[in-house]
Amino acid sequence: MMKKKNRYLWIDIIAVVASIIIFIVPFYFIFLNSIKDRREAGLMNLTLPTTIHFENYLEVLSTQKFMLIRAFCNSVLITAGSIVLLILVCSLGGYVLQRITGKLTGAVNFVILVGLMLPPAILPTIWVMNGLGIYRTLFGIILVEVALNIPFTTMLFRGYAASIPREIEEAAYVDGCGPWRMFVQIIFPLFIPVTATVTVLSSVNIFNDFVNPLYFLPGGKNPTVQLTLYNFMGRYDSAWHLLFANVVLITIPPLILFIFFNRKIVSGITAGAVKG
């Protein structure tokens, strides 16, 4: 017995050391170099800085007329807008898809499954957005994020709806409750756990998205934080201290979410994945 305990102690120690070296050192490296001066950061090593330069962060924020701050506002707006719409659209849709079984819902289920697998057709999407007058607009990118997140989110809501007993609705119906009131007052409150999962998962996804803003929100006027970092990479490839500071700054929002909602994120991924 004693031997076995000892063995697990060793496994613990080795696993912690290995995961720190493999997964923590890269982030430590970035943070360390983000507070060095230009020359020391350019050496790109793990030695402690001789002088600490937190003003790098201010410099990154203020460069190009506070571009990064505007990008933060855009990214937060896109993320929040997409999530509100996504929850609205998918909670209604997922609920009905679970409750009604018929040809229509079967067809919708099928095309949603297709969306889980196939990537978007990019240029035709731009063509449609152009036609609707929403290309290169924040509203346009919000709608695109919603459309592309619909498959996964609808699946989560549909799966969760199965756990809500129909007897509740039947009783409410007998008492004279219509479908809309039923949804708003009875079903949606019961959806809160899955809504929380969706909020956490999708906000990380959408905030970190690079590809969709690159295609659907091009031009320097309305950058997102990911586009700003990408553009910095091209422009300041010798100013590593600023690049590293930028990475640290745009990683803070997901980091906060992670600290508070670690469990939620993990349970959401497994729920979605297992049902998929």
């Binding site: 496994i11 890269p26 969306g115 990537p119 057709a121 449609v128 592309l148 970190n208 690079f210 990683t251």
Partner: protein
């Protein structure tokens, strides 16, 4: 009674947004892939774009790279993830901490991860080669060497994505009743036998999920490639998605859309049969 409780119109907003910005573009992409196209005007050219795609080396190589990328990232995530998940469901004390650490890179944007590793893979000053140099080994040019670059990016992708695979496996492993293992132990099964005869078959549905997710993700990969190598050196790391972007940037919209269609067909031709095969491996408990 049903129709009065459930209102089918609840589906309308979902169908509207999804159709307008995903389904319709997908369907018309088949048409525009057969045109020379400027977004405002088009000229029908039949299969010309597809011929161009497969006759030019710089485009064709994207298909090969994409398949290699998808197969390798998927394989490594599936194997490492399972090994890590088995470890993290053992009676370790620090398993929750390690699960969190392992999962963290997933929350960092791919652009940032690409940047971090590009700097660490810098040929002369990067952390990797400095460490190798300290050991007296001349490190390679991780991203500048044409025969190595794709594998460097693949390694970073696995580093970032193995956490998700692990989480999915851990959920699957925890659902296996402990009594199965106890019964097997009483019958005299060793550790490897228990893994082979109990764990592996019962975790098959998680394996399937990981493989399908990772494979689709691999075929669609773009941001990591684009931030780390931009498809270079030469075309050594170009994938379908980076070619689609390049053709778009050059203004070849019809060709770019043809790339998109080829990507659809590739996924359909591989993932659907793969999924069927994987499902057939699952056992009923």
């Amino acid at each position: 009674m049903k129709s009065k409780i459930y209102n089918p119109w609840f589906l309308a907003p979902l169908v509207l947004v999804y159709a307008a910005l995903f389904l319709i573009p997908m369907i018309i992409s088949f048409f525009f892939s057969m045109t020379i196209w400027t977004l405002t005007e088009f000229r029908f050219v039949g299969l010309y774009n597809f011929k161009t795609f497969f006759s030019e080396y710089s485009l064709r190589i994207g298909v090969k790279n994409t398949l290699l990328y998808a197969a390798l990232t998927c394989g490594f995530k599936a194997i490492f993830g399972l090994a890590l998940a088995v470890l993290l469901t053992s009676p370790m004390k620090t398993k929750n901490l390690i699960r969190s650490i392992l999962f963290f890179p997933n929350l960092v944007s791919t652009i940032a991860v690409g940047m971090i590793f590009s700097s660490m893979m810098h040929p002369s000053r990067g952390l990797f080669n400095s460490l190798l140099g300290a050991l007296g080994i001349a490190g390679p040019d991780w991203l500048g060497n044409a025969s190595l670059a794709l594998f460097s990016v693949i390694a970073v992708d696995v580093w970032k994505g193995v956490g998700v695979a692990t989480v999915i496996y851990v959920a699957g492993l925890m659902a296996i009743p402990e009594t199965y293992y106890e019964a097997a132990s009483i019958d005299g099964a060793g550790g490897f036998q228990r893994f082979r005869m109990i764990t592996l078959p019962l975790v098959q549905s998680s394996i399937n999920t990981v493989i399908v997710l990772a494979f689709i993700g691999g075929i669609r990969t773009f941001d990591l490639i684009w931030t780390m190598t931009k498809g270079g050196p030469g075309f050594a790391t170009d994938t379908m998605a980076s070619i689609i972007y390049k053709q778009y940037a050059y203004g070849f919209y019809g060709l770019s859309t043809a790339g998109n269609v080829i990507m659809f067909l590739l996924i359909a031709a591989i993932v659907f049969p793969l999924y069927r095969f994987l499902i057939s491996l699952e056992v009923d408990v």
